[in-house]
C-alpha cells in the first residue's frame, strides 16, 4: 500500500523512525539550547532557529531509548514542525532520506506504550521496521 506521500527517514537511539514530510517545516542542525528548568525531562530547552524560538523535544526520552552520550543528549539534528502556533524541533541522531514509502498499520495487538503511542503506522526499511510517528502526538506526549 503506497499512499504516494513523502516520508522523512531518521534514526534515534538506533531505531528507525519516519515522519510525514508534509508535517515537517524544515530540518536543521540543532544549536545550543537554553534549558527550561522545571519543564519535563522530555523538553531539552529552547533554541533559536534564526529569529524564531523553537522548543526542542528530547526524542530519546519521549521514546525511552538510550541516549547516544554527550552533553546535548543524543540528537544533534532537528525536525522542525509548527503545531498550534508553536515551533518545535524534534531531536534525532541522524536524518537519512526523504522517500516515498508504503506505510501500513502497526500489527494488531502491539502494545504501544509511552512515547510509542505516537506510532501511526509502520514501513519496511533496510532490514528493519521503520516506525512512523505522528509529530503532533509525539509533541503532546513530550508535554505529559
Amino acid at each position: 500500500m503506497s499512499d504516494g506521500r513523502l516520508h522523512l527517514v531518521a534514526h534515534v537511539g538506533g531505531r528507525g523512525i519516519l515522519f510525514d514530510a508534509s508535517e515537517v517545516d524544515s530540518v536543521v542542525d540543532l544549536p545550543a539550547v537554553v534549558p527550561a528548568p522545571g519543564a519535563p525531562a522530555t523538553i531539552r530547552g529552547l533554541a533559536a532557529l534564526r529569529s524564531r524560538v523553537a522548543t526542542v523535544i528530547e526524542t530519546h526520552r519521549v521514546l525511552g531509548l538510550p541516549c547516544g552520550g554527550g552533553e546535548q543528549g543524543g540528537g544533534t539534528r532537528g525536525v522542525v514542525t509548527m503545531i498550534d502556533g508553536h515551533l518545535y524541533a524534534v531531536a534525532v541522531d541522524t536524518l537519512e532520506d526523504v522517500a516515498e514509502l508504503a506505510v501500513c498499520p502497526a500489527p494488531a495487538g502491539m502494545a504501544l506504550e509511552g512515547g510509542w503511542a505516537a506510532v501511526c503506522g509502520v514501513a519496511e526499511g533496510d532490514d528493519e521496521t521503520l516506525m512512523m510517528l505522528d509529530l503532533r502526538r509525539l509533541v503532546e506526549l513530550a508535554g505529559d
Binding site: V34, A36, G38, S51, V53
Partner: protein, 766 residues
C-alpha cells in the same frame, strides 16, 4: 480624537459590510434570533461610540433603533414588515452619515426625525415608507457630487495579521544577521565600512520599530479615551467619579486592543451609570461622595488581565433573577437551585437588563452579552466579583499572544531569565562590606531575606525546582505581587531590554513558572519568569488585605452626617438617625393644619421648618427616624460622613458644638427636633360610633383632629379609645366614655356646634 474618529469610521464601515448579509437574512426571516442579536449589537456599539465621539445625530438614530430592537428581543414587539424596513432605513442612514463624516461633508438632516417617528409608529407602512425611500435618494446626491472636492481623509488599509507576522519575523532575522555581521567586521578596522554598517544598523533599528508598531500598541491607546468618557458619562447622570488608571505602559497586540475597546467602553459606562450611586446615596452609605472607578492592566503569567473595579452598589442578584423570571417564568425551578455566582452570570444572557428604563448613556443593563461575546472571541474570559453595596469588580483575562515588555535579564539556576520590570521593586546585592542591607537566613528548606530590616520569604529556583546544583546567591530581586512581596535569589543581573514576549510551548508553560519566551538581540532565547506562578508553586501565602479591612470596619466610631443647612451653615447629625436622603419633588411640600408636610408615596412626613424661609421650595430632606416617628429635615445638600468628634463643646442656647477640624460645627439635637413635632401615633383615639359614623367622619373629623384626637371608625383590638362619639339613640352601645350628639340645636351637644364639641372633647382629653 481624530484617530478615534477614523477608527470608528473604519470599524463601522467594516461591520456594515459584514452586516449587510445579516440584514438581508433578517428581512427574509424576522424571527431569526441570531441575526437579530447581531444587528442589535451593531446598533448598540454605534450608540456607545457616538456618545463618546459626540455625534448626536448618529446617537439619536442608533438609540431609537436600539429601543425597538430591544423590544423585539424581549418579545414585546413583533418584527413585522414595517418595523423591519424602519430598522433597515435607519441602518442605511447610519452608513450614509458615517461616509459623510469621513469625507468631511455635512449631510443635511433629511428626514431623520421622520425615520425615527416611523420606527416608533412601526405601523402605517404606506405613509411611512415614502420618506424612508426619499431620504437615501436625497442623501446620495450630495456626497456623490461633492466627493472629489472633499478633504483628504486619513487613508488606511486592513492587512492580514499573518502578513504582518511574516514581516516581523523577517525583520527580526535581519536584526540578528546585522549583529553577526557587526561582530565579524569589528576586527577589520576599516572606518568606512564601519560607518556604512552603522548607517545600516540605524536603518534596521528604525525599521524594526516601525514594523513592531504595526503589530503592537501600548494599552494606553485603549485607556486614553476613558477619562473623557468617564467624565462625560458622569456629568450626564449627575454623579462624580474619579477614574484611576494603572498599567498603561504594557504593549499589546493591536488585534487585542481593537477587540477590547468596546467591551471596556461599555463597562466604564455601565459602572458609572448603574454601579456608582448618586451622590446623596453614597454619602449616606458612608462612602466618599465621589465614586471611584479603577482600571488596571497587568500581565499575569500568560494572560493580560484587565480589571474594572467600582465602589458602587454592586449588582442586586435578587432583582436580576426576578427580571429573568418575569420574562421566562418557566425557568423558575432551574434558576432557584443555582448558586449566587451562577445567578450572577445571568447578567451575560442576551437581552437582559437590570435597569427598567434605558438611558442615553448605557442603555439597558448593558449589553453584557455583547461584552462577553467580544471577549470570548479573542479567547478571553470575563469574571465578576460582586459585593452587594460595596461594588463590582469585573476581570477580563485575555491570552497573551504578543506583548512588548520592559524586562530585566537576570541569571539564576545557571541560566538567563527575564523578569518584568513592573514587578521588580529593587535588586539588592549580597555584599560583605554592606552586610546590613541584606541578610539571608535559612531554616530547613525555607529561607528568608532581611532587607534593611524588612523580612520577606526568599525563593531560589534550584530549590524550588529540585535541581541538584545549589544557587550561589549574589543578589536578590525584591518582587512585588498584588498580594505581597518576596525575594527571588539570583546569581547575577545582565541588563534591561525591551523585548517582545510570545507564549512558550504548552509543555514549558505547564510548569507554571514561566510567562512566555523572548528572543533578545544576541539570538539566545530567554524565558520570562511568572513571579505569581513562582510564589504559588513555592506555597507562599500572603495575608489577604481585604480581611484586615473588614476588621477595621467593625470597630468604627459613631459617625455623623455633615450637611449644609438651609440657612447656609454646615451642621452635623448622627448618621444613625438618618434613614434616607431624599430629593423632594416640586409640589410635594404642602401645608395642612399647622404643619408642613412632605408627601411621598402616599405617606406624609412632617417637615421641620425651624430654619426655612419658604418651605414650599425645599429641595432635599433628611428623613429622620426615632422609634417609629418620622421627620423631614430640609437641607441644601449632604456633604459627607465623618467620624463624630469625641468631645463636644456647649454652645449658646443649649446647642451642642463640636470641632470638626478647626471649624466649630453644630451637632443637631435629634430629640429636640422631634419634640416640637406632631406625633400622630400618640394622639388619643376618638371613636365614631354607630350608623352615623360616615357622616361624622365627613363633617366632624377636622374638628375632632383639631382638638388633638385621631379619628377611628372601629376600635382595633389593643388600642385604647379615649372617647366615643355617638348619636343619642345609639349612645348606649358605644364603649367607654361617650359624647352624645343630638340632631337638634338646644338639646345636649348639637352636632353642628363646633365650640361645644371641642370643649367636650378637650375635657375628656385632659
Amino acid at each position: 480624537m481624530d484617530d478615534l474618529l477614523q477608527e470608528f469610521i473604519a470599524e463601522t464601515r467594516e461591520t456594515l459590510e459584514a452586516l449587510s448579509g445579516e440584514i438581508v437574512g433578517w428581512e427574509r426571516d424576522p424571527t431569526d434570533r441570531a441575526r437579530l442579536d447581531a444587528i442589535f449589537r451593531f446598533v448598540h456599539t454605534i450608540k456607545g461610540s457616538c456618545g463618546f465621539l459626540d455625534l448626536p445625530r448618529l446617537a439619536r438614530l442608533s438609540h431609537a433603533a436600539e429601543d425597538v430592537l430591544s423590544a423585539v428581543r424581549a418579545g414585546e414587539r413583533q418584527p413585522d414588515a414595517a418595523t423591519v424596513s424602519a430598522i433597515l432605513a435607519i441602518i442605511d442612514r447610519i452608513g450614509e452619515l458615517v461616509e459623510a463624516i469621513n469625507s468631511g461633508e455635512s449631510l443635511d438632516d433629511g428626514d431623520e426625525a421622520g425615520l425615527i417617528a416611523m420606527l416608533e409608529r412601526g405601523a402605517e407602512p404606506a405613509a411611512a415608507i415614502a420618506p424612508a425611500e426619499a431620504a437615501p435618494a436625497h442623501a446620495f446626491t450630495a456626497p456623490a457630487s461633492a466627493a472629489p472636492a472633499s478633504r483628504g481623509a486619513k487613508r488606511s488599509v486592513r492587512l492580514s495579521v499573518d502578513l504582518l507576522d511574516r514581516m516581523m519575523s523577517g525583520v527580526s532575522d535581519m536584526v540578528l544577521a546585522r549583529n553577526q555581521v557587526a561582530r565579524q567586521l569589528r576586527d577589520t578596522g576599516d572606518p568606512q565600512l564601519e560607518a556604512t554598517l552603522e548607517r545600516l544598523s540605524m536603518t534596521v533599528a528604525e525599521l524594526r520599530d516601525t514594523v513592531t508598531r504595526t503589530r503592537m500598541q501600548r494599552i494606553d491607546a485603549l485607556f486614553q479615551s476613558l477619562p473623557r468618557m468617564a467624565r462625560d458619562t458622569a456629568a450626564a447622570v449627575g454623579k462624580s467619579v474619579s477614574l484611576e488608571i494603572e498599567g498603561g505602559d504594557v504593549e499589546l497586540d493591536r488585534e487585542m486592543i481593537e477587540m477590547l475597546r468596546d467591551p471596556l467602553a461599555h463597562m466604564v459606562r455601565n459602572a458609572i451609570d448603574h454601579g456608582i450611586e448618586a451622590r446623596a446615596d453614597r454619602v449616606f452609605a458612608g462612602k466618599p461622595a465621589q465614586g471611584t472607578l479603577r482600571i488596571a492592566a497587568r500581565q499575569a503569567g500568560n494572560l493580560i488581565v484587565i480589571e474594572i473595579v467600582d465602589d458602587g452598589q454592586g449588582i442586586d442578584v435578587d432583582r436580576l433573577v426576578e427580571k429573568v423570571l418575569r420574562a421566562r417564568p418557566d425557568r423558575a425551578a432551574e434558576i432557584n437551585g443555582w448558586s449566587e455566582a451562577r445567578k450572577l452570570d445571568l447578567i451575560f444572557e442576551a437581552g437582559l437588563s437590570t435597569r427598567d428604563e434605558a438611558s442615553e448613556i448605557s442603555g439597558r443593563g448593558v449589553g453584557m452579552d455583547v461584552v462577553k461575546a467580544n471577549v470570548e472571541q479573542i479567547g478571553g474570559r470575563i469574571a465578576l466579583k460582586n459585593t452587594r453595596g460595596r461594588g463590582l469588580a469585573v476581570t477580563i483575562e485575555v491570552p497573551l499572544t504578543l506583548a512588548i515588555l520592559n524586562a530585566v535579564i537576570v541569571e539564576a539556576a545557571g541560566t538567563r531569565f527575564a523578569l518584568s520590570r513592573q514587578v521588580v521593586e529593587e535588586i539588592v546585592a549580597v555584599d560583605a562590606r554592606t552586610s546590613g542591607a541584606l541578610r539571608i537566613e535559612r531554616f530547613g528548606a525555607n529561607a528568608m531575606a532581611v532587607v534593611r530590616g524588612r523580612r520577606m520569604p526568599m525563593i531560589d529556583l534550584p530549590t524550588l525546582l529540585g535541581l541538584h546544583v545549589p544557587e550561589t546567591v549574589a543578589m536578590v530581586a525584591i518582587v512585588t505581587l498584588r498580594e505581597g512581596v518576596f525575594a527571588l535569589a539570583l546569581s547575577g543581573v545582565v541588563e534591561t531590554q525591551e523585548l517582545v514576549v510570545k507564549p512558550a510551548a504548552p509543555a514549558v508553560m505547564s510548569t507554571g513558572i514561566y510567562a512566555g519566551q523572548m528572543l533578545p538581540d544576541d539570538g539566545v532565547p530567554i524565558l520570562l519568569l511568572d513571579v505569581a506562578g513562582i510564589a504559588q508553586r513555592a506555597g507562599l501565602q500572603f495575608e489577604r488585605r481585604e480581611m484586615r479591612h473588614e476588621e477595621e470596619a467593625a470597630v468604627e466610631a459613631p459617625r455623623a452626617l455633615l450637611f449644609r443647612d438651609t440657612d447656609g451653615c454646615r451642621r452635623m447629625i448622627a448618621a444613625e438617625a438618618v434613614s434616607r436622603i431624599e430629593r423632594v419633588a416640586p409640589g410635594a411640600v404642602t401645608r395642612a393644619g399647622d404643619h408642613w408636610w412632605v408627601t411621598r408615596e402616599a405617606a406624609a412626613v412632617p417637615l421641620w421648618i425651624g430654619r426655612v424661609d419658604d418651605p414650599s421650595r425645599v429641595g432635599t430632606i433628611l428623613r429622620l427616624q426615632l422609634d417609629g416617628r418620622e421627620l423631614g429635615y430640609p437641607v441644601v445638600e449632604a456633604c459627607e460622613i465623618v467620624d463624630l468628634p469625641a468631645d463636644p463643646v456647649e454652645g449658646p442656647e443649649g446647642t451642642t458644638v463640636v470641632m470638626l477640624g478647626d471649624e466649630p460645627t453644630e451637632l443637631l439635637d435629634i430629640l429636640a427636633l422631634f419634640d416640637g413635632e406632631v406625633r400622630p401615633a400618640s394622639r388619643p383615639l376618638c371613636l365614631l360610633h354607630g350608623s352615623e359614623s360616615g357622616w361624622m367622619e365627613a363633617f366632624l373629623r377636622p374638628t375632632i383632629e383639631a382638638a388633638g384626637y385621631q379619628v377611628v371608625r372601629q376600635a382595633q383590638p389593643g388600642t385604647t379609645i379615649t372617647v366615643a362619639l355617638a348619636m343619642e339613640e345609639e349612645a348606649s352601645g358605644a364603649p367607654g366614655r361617650v359624647i352624645c350628639l343630638s340632631r337638634r340645636a338646644g338639646a345636649g351637644i348639637y352636632r353642628g356646634d363646633r365650640a361645644a364639641l371641642v370643649a367636650a372633647l378637650q375635657e375628656y382629653r385632659a
